[in-house]
Structure formats: structure tokens, C-alpha cells
């Protein structure tokens, strides 16, 4: 203000005071006038800025509304008319500060009304204006007035200074001064600031402070500590809001580039909706705060005044929600998909009804993509999961491993409101559908899915399920699983004849079809004695065909016989045909899911074992054929020398005993394998096959079947040593067979030599026998005389007997070892084998230690 204006202002003010006091303008020396003038100056200098925004139209509107509410509608109309005219006056000579004039009029008018109301009381009790409005206003004006009044009354009426109540007056004054000093900013401005802050915008005084990480009133503003704390508390909402908002915008910005995921998007959308609600509330509050409230006048305690305290009440509920959201945002920053839903679900377990409802609403939105995935997976087998959010993960695999490896549960993505068993069921149902579709080329599952949906009472539409309906989901899944599993098993049993194939495998690979095995052994035997690298698999395939045709197997289903193949395993040097030959069963899609390569490899091992056992048995039977004592042979020996004859007989006896022992072992082992192992396991398996409810059950049953065969046939891990000693035994038996053959060749040769001089009828007999013996080497003894023949025979028999003795000794010790190991095995069935082998307690008596 420059000097000229200053003097002008002084003059005007003096004029005003004079006018108001209705005194003679010349009488400016009157102390009363001087006092009033100084007082007026003080008032003016104490209030430099108005507390409201300079908006003429708003003030006029407020005046008009009040006139109207007081019943003076005609006044209101006139006033608005006048105001329009007044505000249209522009240019030189018009009033510049129109809003100030209006505001002035309004306040004066208000003041007059209130003065009228209190005037009588203040006249009678001049000590203190105790009405609340004056107190709450608490300005110096009051004090000034009181001072004036006092001094003015001092003219001799009474002295109030001595009044004891004046102490109270002083105290009040001090308090009011204090309040005034502290409150540099009016509360209403603070409220507006807080409202701004809560939208994440800096207010005039309350600003975001990065160091404190929150909205605070700047230190320069002078307000009481309580107000500061309160503002700080209220602005927490703003801080939370910023957090949530930034999360939403961040994930939305990131969306096309990175995969936020459908669940993440749903979460953002739900948060956004909550924020919209919040905005609505803020808008309402702001409108309420903007309501024109008289600010200086004593009627300030009107109803819609929005104080900080009221604000704190209004903010109580949004604060809870916003806090929750902020916590969720914090939690979910790194999570996605099912994991995110699970994390949010953990927060939904809350006793507070408000929180519970809020979380439920949020979760319904968040989980809807997830439930949709479950629905389409269970009913249609579709894996609509481009962001890898579902708890079922698919992998591109070959058809045969689709069931085992194609899909798996991703436990990280499994939200906790879906139990593990339910998840397994969900996984299996979808897997079954995919299995049917891909491997079985079947379309019947669609009806099953539809049926399941109607049975569970839900629609097959999208979005039929939601969070909180876990029971409905479970029943849907159970219904679907039941039907689809049943359908799948039907397809496997009926269309793909699983049972028949299992039986075929048992008959051919596990050598259950005796006549077939016998024929096969007979015709491939000579071929397999050749070295492995000279064997042609085509020839073997032809032989297999012959074996099938000549046995009862020929009446089997041609489809099954088609699948039976010869397989030669990779062979090393020195392997015989016996070592590499095996049969193979081609399972084909979709049964290769059940008969996987590893399963077939185990079948192959069982086959090899059984084949070896059969071969040993076959060899023993072959030996028996040559060893069989008959009258022809025994008769021919009568002509031998006594000593030689005795030796021959003892050797033969040795051989027979040893054979018998071996035969006992092999027969019993064979019996055990066939009846105690294969048939029993098969019977269990058949029962379980009937009871199986889904493919997993079936797989487990089959696995159990194989495992039991494996364990009981000494093929398992734990019976490795037993298995090895068994094979040594087998080899020994095969060696025995060749020895026995050589012995009998020698005997036949001897016989032939001794028969040379006998009857021509004998000749015939001998020549026919010679034809049979392919392995004889005639000529070694031919040139020698009878004596030499006898001598040689004796020598040969001695050698043979020694060898047989060694063989018998080795066999006994091996068998002993084998039998000793048997009880150590844990499998209970092996005890029966021991029992069977040692039925007469021959072995245990022989070696009581065992």
C-alpha cells in the first residue's frame, strides 16, 4: 500500500467511524472517537486476508438461498435481480471488489440478526459474552469490545475489574489468544487439504513428504500438535490410495508387454471398482465441505460443517478397506494366477463382517477367471491358460505319455480354497477328457460332461461358478469325474479290450499257454543254439508263426496274434541265441499308456526268466528221454565184462540220481512260479480291474500286478543274489545235460561196438540208433580190438563218473546256498517255495544248520 492509498484509507476510515458514531465530523478530539478510531484501525490491520475465496456469484447465491429459506422469496428474487444488474456494471466508475461488497453486506446483515438475539442478555450481563458462538469464534474483536465496554463503563457506573468473575474473563481471554496464535490456518482449509490428499493430490498446507513417506502439514504452518497428528492420521488414507492407485496403473501399463495374467487383470478391475466407490464418497464429502458456511459469524456451528473430526468418522470405513487393499497390493505384487487368488483368500478369513463381505466381493471378481478355467477344463478338457496361471500345467508330449506326463499340478498356483484331493480330481478329469480325445479318438465324453453339469445343477455356460461356491465346484467336479472316468474305462475295456490284451500277455509273454510254449521251444531250440549274430529274426518270426498255428493259440483273436512279435535283444560276442531271444507284445495307442516301454521292459525281464526256466525244464526232459532205462539197453550190457558192467551201472545210477534231484528242484520252482506267482497275481489283478474306478486305479492295479510277479519271481532288487545263484544253478543243469548226453553217446557207441559181432537183427537196431545220434563220432574205437574196447569203455566211464561227481558236488553246494538264502528273503511267498522244495525235510536233515 503506498502512501497515497494509506492516507485515503485513513480518511475513509475516519469518515466511517464518524458516520457510524453519528458524531459531528469536527469533533474528532472526542476521546470516545479517538478510541473507536484506533480500535477500528487495529481490527483492520489484524485481518489481512479474507477466509473465503473471492467469488461474488457464490456469495450472492448463498445470500439468495438464505433469503429464500427465511420465507422472503420475493426478497430473494429482487436480490438476485439486483445482483445481476450490479455484477453487470463494469468499466470505470464501477465497483471493483464486487465480491467484497457483497460479502460485507452479508456479514453485517448476519451480525445484526445475531446481535438482535443476544442484545438483551449482553446488556444485563456485560462481563462476558458467554454464548458459545462468540467463544468459538474467539477473535480479538471480542476482547477489544469487552475492553471498550469496560473502559466505557468506567464512567462511574461500576468497576467490573474487581469482580471475581473477571478472573475467568482473563483466563478465557488468554485461552482465546492462545488458540488464535496457534491456529494460523482455519480448520476448514485443512479439511479441504485433507480431502485433496486423500485423492493423492498435494493440498495447500498438507503435502507429500518423501522423507517421512506420508502426507504431513508443513512445519511452517502453525497449528496445534493435536491437529497436526489428526491431519497426519487422516492423510494415511491418501498414502494408501497412492499405493493402490500406483499398483493398478503399473500393472495396466505393463499389461500388453508383460503377462499380468487374467487373474491379475481381474484383481486390478476389482480394485478399480472399489476406488470408484471411494471417489464417490470423496465427491460427496467435498460437496459437503464446500457448502457455504458463514465463517466469521457466531452461527458457525451449523450442521453440515465438515470438521476434521467428522472427517475422521467418515473415513473410518474407507480406511479399513483401503488398508486391506494396500496390504493385498503389497502381497500380490510378485504373485500371479492361482497363487494370487490364494494369497487374497488368506485375507478373507476375517471375523469382521465388513472385511469379510469386502473380501468376498473382491475374491468373486478375482477368482472368476480361475473358476472359468476349472470349468472348461473339467467339462471340455480345454486348458485356456495363456498366462500360466492355472494349477494344471500341460506339456507337449507324445500320445503314449500323455496320461503320465502330459499334465501335472502346479502346487504354487493352487489356491488354498481348493483342496489337494479336489485338485487331483480336477486334474484327472481334464486329463481323462484329453486322453479320450487325443489317444482314444473318442467323442462320447462331451455328453458325459453335459450330463455331469446338469446333475451337479450348474450350467455349462461360462461364469456359472464363483468364489465361495466351492461346494458347487466340488460336486460339479465329482459328477464330471465320475462320468468321464466311467466312460474312459468303458472305452478302454470294451473298445480297446484291455483285459483281453492283459490275458494275451499273460498267456504268451508269461508263458501261460503251455502247448504253445512247448511247440515254440521244440522248433526254435536248434536255431537258438547257434551264436547270436548268425540268427535271423525273420526265420524266428516264421517259427513263431508255425508254433502258433500248431498250438491252440491259433484259435485266438487274430488282432492279438498280430501283435505278438519276436524280438532279438542287442547281443555281445559269444552270446547264444538263447540269450537274445524274446517275445514282444505290441500294445499300440492308447493301451501303450498302460503298457509303457518301462512296463514292457519288465515284462521282457519276466519273460527271459521264465524262458530260461522253461529251457532248463525242457533240457531236463530231453535228458530224461535219452536216459530212460529200457530192456533193450540193459539187455545189451549183459555181454560186457563184469567190472565194466558194474562201473557202467554205477555211473548210470549216479546220473539218474543227479537228474532226479535237479528235476525235483526245477519242477517245484516251475510249479511255484506258475501257480503261486503268476496265477495268484493274475487273480488279484482281475479283481482290482473290476473294482477300478478310473484310469489311475487301473494303472495302480497293473503296477501292483507286475510288482508282485517281479518280487515273487526273485527278479526284484532285494533278491539279486538269489537270482544270480539261481542262474548259476540253471547253467549247471544245462551243463549236466550235455554231460549226460555225452555219457549216453559213449554208452551207445560202446553198445554198437559190442554188437558188431552179434546178430544181423541187432545190426539193424544199431544202425537206426546211430542215425538218431547226430553227435556221435564213429571211428574212434573201430580199429581197436575187443580188449581195447573194454579198456577204453572203463576209462571213459571212470572219467564220466568223476565229472558227474564233481557236477553233483557243485550242484549240492549251490543248491545249499540257494536254499540257505531263501528264508532270508522278506517276501512271504518265498517261504512256500522253500517249504515245497524241502517238503520231506531231506535238505534240512542233510544240513541241520540250515
Amino acid at each position: 500500500m503506498d502512501e497515497e492509498e494509506q492516507t485515503k484509507l485513513i480518511d475513509l476510515l475516519r469518515e466511517l467511524v464518524v458516520r457510524l458514531l453519528s458524531q459531528n465530523p469536527q469533533d474528532t478530539t472526542n476521546p470516545n472517537f479517538q478510541n473507536s478510531f484506533r480500535y477500528a484501525l487495529r481490527i483492520l490491520s489484524s485481518r489481512l486476508t479474507p477466509s473465503i475465496a473471492p467469488d461474488a456469484a457464490a456469495i450472492a447465491e448463498s445470500i439468495k438461498r438464505r433469503l429464500a429459506t427465511q420465507g422472503n422469496s420475493s426478497d430473494a428474487l429482487t436480490f438476485s435481480d439486483l445482483f445481476t444488474k450490479f455484477s453487470s456494471k463494469t468499466g470505470p466508475g464501477s465497483v471493483n471488489n464486487k465480491w467484497a461488497v457483497l460479502y460485507l453486506l452479508k456479514i453485517i446483515s448476519d451480525d445484526r440478526k445475531s446481535v438482535k438475539n443476544v442484545i438483551s442478555s449482553s446488556n444485563l450481563l456485560p462481563n462476558l459474552g458467554l454464548n458459545e458462538s462468540e467463544l468459538s469464534n474467539g477473535s480479538r474483536v471480542l476482547n477489544g469490545k469487552e475492553d471498550k465496554k469496560m473502559s466505557w463503563r468506567n464512567n462511574g457506573v461500576l468497576l467490573v475489574n474487581k469482580d471475581p468473575e473477571n478472573l475467568r474473563d482473563v483466563a478465557f481471554r488468554e485461552y482465546v489468544n492462545l488458540v488464535k496464535e496457534e491456529n494460523e490456518v482455519s480448520e476448514e482449509v485443512l479439511v479441504r487439504d485433507v480431502l485433496y490428499c486423500c485423492q493423492g493430490i498435494d493440498g495447500k498446507y498438507a503435502k507429500f513428504d518423501a522423507t517421512v513417506d506420508g502426507y504431513v502439514l508443513s512445519d511452517l504452518v502453525k497449528v496445534p500438535r493435536a491437529t497436526r497428528v489428526m491431519v497426519r492420521k487422516l492423510c494415511e488414507l491418501g498414502w494408501l490410495f497412492r499405493k493402490v492407485k500406483s499398483y493398478i496403473s503399473e500393472s495396466m501399463d505393463r499389461f500388453p508387454a508383460e503377462d499380468v495374467g487374467t487373474v491379475g487383470q481381474a484383481f486390478c478391475a476389482a480394485l478399480q471398482d472399489e476406488l470408484t466407490e471411494y471417489y464417490k464418497l470423496l465427491a460427496v464429502l467435498e460437496a459437503q465441505a464446500m457448502n457455504p458456511i458463514p465463517l466469521v459469524s457466531e452461527s458457525a456451528n451449523s450442521g453440515n460443517y465438515l470438521s476434521l473430526r467428522r472427517l475422521s468418522v467418515w473415513f473410518a470405513e474407507p480406511m479399513v478397506k483401503m488398508r486391506l487393499m494396500a496390504v493385498l497390493v503389497d502381497k500380490c505384487k510378485v504373485l500371479r494366477g492361482g497363487a494370487m487368488a490364494g494369497a487374497i483368500h488368506l485375507h478373507a478369513q476375517h471375523g469382521d463382517q465388513l472385511v469379510h463381505e469386502f473380501m468376498k466381493r473382491l475374491l468373486r471378481r478375482v477368482c472368476s477367471p480361475l473358476f472359468e478355467m476349472v470349468r472348461s477344463w473339467v467339462l471340455e478338457g480345454e486348458l485356456e491358460d495363456i498366462y500360466a496361471e492355472f494349477f494344471v500345467v500341460g506339456q507337449p508330449v507324445k500320445a503314449e505319455s500323455l496320461w503320465r506326463e502330459g499334465y501335472r499340478l502346479h502346487s504354487g498356483m493352487l489356491p488354498s480354497f481348493i483342496s489337494q484331493s479336489l485338485a487331483q480330481r480336477i486334474l484327472r478329469t481334464g486329463k481323462s477328457i484329453n486322453f479320450l480325445r487325443v489317444c482314444c479318438d473318442d467323442r462320447g465324453w462331451a455328453d458325459a460332461g453335459m450330463e455331469a453339469a446338469t446333475a451337479a445343477g450348474t450350467t455349462t455356460r461360462r461364469g456359472g461358478l464363483g468364489y465361495g461356491e466351492t461346494d458347487a465346484l466340488e460336486s460339479l467336479v465329482i459328477e464330471a469325474a465320475k462320468r468321464i472316468d466311467k466312460h474312459l474305462l468303458d472305452v478302454i475295456y470294451n473298445r480297446y479290450k484291455f483285459k483281453e490284451h492283459c490275458l494275451a500277455i499273460k498267456r504268451y509273454l508269461l508263458l501261460g499257454q503251455g502247448d504253445f510254449v512247448q511247440y515254440l521251444m521244440d522248433i526254435v531250440g536248434p536255431e537258438l543254439s547257434e551264436p547270436a549274430n548268425t540268427i535271423s529274426s525273420f526265420k524266428l518270426a516264421g517259427l513263431l508263426e508255425t508254433a502258433i498255428r500248431s498250438s491252440n493259440a491259433q484259435y485266438d483273436d487274430p488282432d492279438i496274434l498280430d501283435r505278438l512279435r519276436v524280438k532279438l535283444m542287442p547281443h555281445g560276442t559269444g552270446d547264444r541265441g538263447w540269450d537274445v531271444f524274446s517275445l514282444e507284445y505290441d500294445a499300440r495307442v492308447p493301451l501303450d499308456t498302460l503298457f509303457t516301454e518301462s512296463v514292457m521292459a519288465r515284462y521282457l525281464r519276466i519273460f527271459n526268466f521264465l524262458w530260461k526256466l522253461r529251457r532248463v525244464e525242457h533240457a531236463l526232459i530231453g535228458a530224461w528221454k535219452t536216459m530212460k532205462p529200457n530192456c533193450i539197453t540193459s539187455h545189451s550190457f549183459t555181454k560186457l565184462q563184469h567190472a565194466v558192467k558194474l562201473q557202467l551201472l554205477s555211473t548210470l545210477r549216479r546220473c539218474q540220481v543227479l537228474w532226479n534231484e535237479m528235476n525235483h528242484f526245477v519242477t517245484n520252482l516251475q510249479y511255484y512260479i506258475m501257480f503261486e506267482v503268476l496265477e495268484v497275481s493274475w487273480s488279484h489283478f482281475s479283481n482290482e480291474m473290476e473294482a477300478a474306478k478310473d484310469l489311475d486305479d487301473l494303472l495302480a492295479a497293473h503296477e501292483k500286478y507286475l510288482h508282485s510277479i517281479f518280487e515273487k519271481s526273485l527278479l526284484g532288487e532285494r533278491s539279486q543274489s538269489l537270482y544270480k545263484s539261481l542262474f548259476v544253478l540253471f547253467d549247471l543243469i544245462l551243463r549236466f545235460r550235455s554231460h549226460a548226453d555225452r555219457l549216453y553217446e559213449g554208452i551207445h557207441e560202446l553198445q554198437a561196438r559190442t554188437m558188431e559181432s552179434s546178430l544181423s537183427s541187432r545190426d539193424k537196431n544199431k544202425s537206426s540208433r546211430q542215425k538218431n545220434d547226430k553227435y556221435t563220432e564213429p571211428g574212434s574205437w573201430l580199429s581197436d580190438g575187443r580188449k581195447a574196447v573194454t579198456q577204453r569203455a572203463g576209462e571213459f566211464l571212470r572219467n564220466m563218473e568223476q565229472e558227474l561227481d564233481a557236477l553233483a558236488k557243485e550242484y549240492t553246494s549251490l543248491l545249499e546256498g540257494f536254499l540257505a538264502q531263501l528264508p532270508v528273503q522278506q517276501h512271504v511267498d518265498l517261504k512256500f517255495l522253500l517249504f515245497r522244495l524241502d517238503f520231506t525235510e531231506f535238505y534240512s536233515r542233510l544240513h541241520p544248520i540250515v
Binding site: L16, L44, G93
Partner: protein
């Protein structure tokens, strides 16, 4: 001051005086004009109103009868 401006000023004062009467402020025309001038000088209207109120109230106990200015048209 040119006559146009003077006329505008007078009309403005008339309008303001009308409004003042409707609002029953008890101000006479002259006082109002002084107040308008003060407002134009940028004085805070709240302070002005306080001055008016205080001085009016100070006077009212000493002169119980209504001021002649308020009854003026």
C-alpha cells in the same frame, strides 16, 4: 471523472444500497459508499464488517433509539 463513469458509480451505489436494504444491514447510503470505497482499496471485508458491527453496537447502548440513518430510504 467523466460523466459516464460517474453515472455507473452512482447506479452501482444505488444497486448496492438496494441490496443492503433487502438484507437489512442498517447502513445509510453514505456509510455504504465509504465502505465500498474501502473495499475497492482492498480492505478485508471481514475486518470491515467487524468494525461496523463493533461501532454500531457501541453506540446502541448509549442511544437506545434507532439510528436515524437506518430509517432513511
Amino acid at each position: 471523472m467523466d460523466p459516464e463513469a460517474a453515472r455507473t458509480a452512482r447506479e452501482s451505489l444505488d444497486l448496492a444500497f438496494h441490496m443492503s436494504n433487502i438484507l437489512d444491514t442498517g447502513l445509510d447510503r453514505h456509510t455504504l459508499s465509504v465502505l465500498i470505497a474501502l473495499c475497492d482499496l482492498g480492505v478485508n471485508p471481514e475486518a470491515l464488517s467487524a468494525v461496523v458491527k463493533e461501532l454500531q453496537r457501541e453506540r446502541s447502548p448509549s442511544t437506545p433509539m434507532p439510528t436515524p440513518t437506518s430509517s432513511m430510504p
